[in-house]
């Protein structure tokens, strides 16, 4: 065990106001182990009584070194780590990573694979929003929401388990398509989910919309203006809660999102309540996308036929010499994309998730950098929480849907 490092207030002089130096305001440490920081976020608070003067977030308690480790793995192996970054959005992370690899190698993805990717990514968005709804309502004192939301989240996880054999970290989306085709029960299971879900969403509305405490603790709290959003580069439900209709699924469609008809829910208030409404309405929109994708789910292969980058199906390996060689080469050496760099961004449940990938022509990525929404959105917490009570800080931090694995990488 290392010695405890003593920090004097002088080291923080540039971060806190002069009043803290004279002891007029109080410096309080919150986290990293605190039940409402959703993981391991540390906030250094400067308080004037109960009122927040300043918040200094400290992240990195879950720093995983993914970017460095990816440099020593080949492209297929590095994908496994992207699941565990934003652990509420593994499918979306896989999708972003695969889109980057596909852009680098100019791989085409068959339409069936694209449609299934969209279905899975939207299911993941619903499950992520459900978890957010459950936990942040729990933070604000609505205990039963947690139990209801997890009930529906299990339905989504069951679908993931059906298609991939894993509940959370699936690595189901691979460069060039999918790991394998979905089983026959997939469509019926998703349709059952689609049928059940709208009534459940109404249940959440009934539980929260008439809950005076919840409304009092969310309306008018943590207001963000449009200008702040642009300055801090915010994205996702946070920016849509401030009235900016910005959604990468619409603006820069990927994986065939332009084929589907959906709206971008926005609310102009910019407070915690607006962000909550945006997320709940997004779930309904996600259901719409899933239904459309399921209705016109095309038949065909789910993996690209480019054998330089995508392994052949199992059935070919037994009968074709070339297939065996390709398979062997791909799983021992990996593939070598041309040298260059790409930046691909998708709309994760929290905002813009970007992958900057640089290849030097070898089988291992030269640099993988992940631009993660939580990291960006967390920067706005001091702006949102100034002059609010410390109890409202819980709601504000919850409202940007922080996932610390996403922030620290």
């Amino acid at each position: 065990m290392t010695d405890i490092r003593e920090v004097s207030v002088d080291e923080l002089r540039h971060l806190v106001s002069d009043r803290a130096m004279s002891g007029e305001t109080m410096l309080l440490n919150m986290g990293p182990q605190h039940p409402s920081t959703h993981g391991v976020l540390r906030l250094l608070l400067e308080l004037d009584g109960e009122v927040v003067v300043n918040v200094i977030p400290d992240i990195g308690f879950l720093h995983t070194g993914v970017e460095k480790t990816a440099e020593s793995k080949n492209y297929q192996q590095a994908e496994v780590m992207t699941d565990r970054l934003d652990y509420l959005n593994p499918m979306g992370n896989n999708l972003t990573y695969c889109l980057a690899v596909e852009k680098l190698t100019e791989l085409d993805v068959p339409p069936r694979a694209q449609a299934i990717r969209v279905i899975l990514a939207e299911l993941q968005r619903i499950s992520s929003h459900l978890l957010w709804l459950g936990t942040s309502a729990l933070d604000l004192g609505a205990m039963s929401m947690f139990l209801y939301c997890f009930r529906e989240r299990e339905l989504v996880l069951n679908i993931f388990e059906l298609v991939s054999g894993q509940r959370m970290m699936t690595t189901f989306i691979r460069p060039g398509g999918l790991w394998r085709d979905v089983p026959v029960e997939f469509e019926a299971t998703v349709r059952d989910f689609l049928k059940a879900m709208p009534r459940r969403i109404k249940e959440y509305d009934d539980l929260l919309e008439k809950n005076e405490i919840f409304l009092d603790r969310t309306k008018g709290i943590g207001i963000l203006t449009k200008e702040d959003c642009f300055q801090y580069g915010l994205s996702g439900p946070v920016i849509r809660g401030s009235g900016v209709a910005h959604d990468l699924r619409k603006k820069q469609p990927y994986s065939g999102y332009d084929l589907y008809d959906f709206d971008i829910p926005t609310h102009p208030e910019g407070d915690v309540y607006a962000r909550y409404r945006v997320r709940v309405e997004e779930m309904t929109q996600s259901l719409r996308i899933i239904e459309q994708a399921l209705n016109k789910l095309p038949y065909g292969p789910v993996r690209s036929n480019n054998r330089k980058y995508v392994p052949p199906p199992r059935s070919e390996i037994g009968v074709s010499m070339e297939a065996l060689i390709h398979h062997f080469k791909l799983w021992t050496e990996g593939f070598t994309p041309p040298a260059g760099h790409v930046y691909v961004a998708t709309e994760s449940p929290r905002g813009e998730l970007g992958v900057y990938m640089e290849s030097d022509g070898t089988a291992r990525p030269y640099r993988v950098h992940l631009v993660t929404p939580t990291f960006v959105n967390l920067q706005a917490v001091p702006v949102m929480s100034r002059k609010h009570y410390i109890a409202d800080l819980i709601g504000i931090v919850g409202s940007i849907d922080i996932v610390l694995g996403d922030a620290d990488r």
Binding site: M1, T2, I4, P32, Q33, H34, P35, G39, V40, G60, F61, L62, H63, T64, G65, V66, K68, T69, V80, M81, R84, Y87, L88, L131, G134, T135, F146, L147, Y148, F150, R151, R153, E154, L157, R167, M168, M169, L404, G405, D408
Partner: protein, 160 residues
């Protein structure tokens, strides 16, 4: 429970102190509300409606280490977090137990690099390791039940 038949109407049960203490310890083992990464989400699933850990009397998560007996290290522990985890462990009152939930907490998992502790047993003594990335909620419940079995076998002479 079958206890009534055994005890009859006398209202007295004879047992050894060891058994009585271990029984009470296993039946009121309060975990600390403390999640790190992906496994924390599965830990939450385990407490939610579908898996419902409270069936086994282990749902009462305490946010304060002073009130808890069991630390479930759910997720990867980074070098920055390690002193904090150790401090939390030191703050827990004895008797205390540790479950390393998931591959990252058990052995570093897929993250063999500069930032992640290669197993939380580098800093705290671990009683039960639960495998999986992340383990299913059933696996966590099994891990806690395994710990209960271990606690039931503890001897008075080892407590001192």
């Amino acid at each position: 429970m079958g206890l009534e038949q055994k005890a009859g109407n006398m209202g007295i049960v004879t047992t050894s102190l060891e058994k009585a203490v271990n029984w009470s310890r296993t039946n009121a083992m309060w975990p600390m509300l403390f999640g790190l990464a992906c496994c924390a989400i599965e830990m939450m699933s385990a407490q939610a409606a579908d898996y419902d850990m409270s069936r086994f009397g282990m749902e009462l998560m305490r946010a304060s280490p002073r009130q808890s007996d069991l630390m479930i290290v759910a997720g990867r522990v980074s070098r920055k977090m390690a002193p904090v985890v150790r401090k939390l462990y030191d703050q827990m009152p004895a008797p205390k137990w540790v479950i390393a939930m998931g591959d990252c907490a058990s052995c570093g998992g897929i993250f063999n690099n500069y930032a992640i502790l290669q197993g939380v047993d580098e800093i705290v003594p671990v009683d039960v390791y639960v495998a999986g990335c992340p383990p299913r909620p059933e696996a966590l419940i099994h891990g806690v039940l395994t710990l209960h079995e271990k606690v039931r076998k503890e001897k008075i002479k080892d407590w001192a």
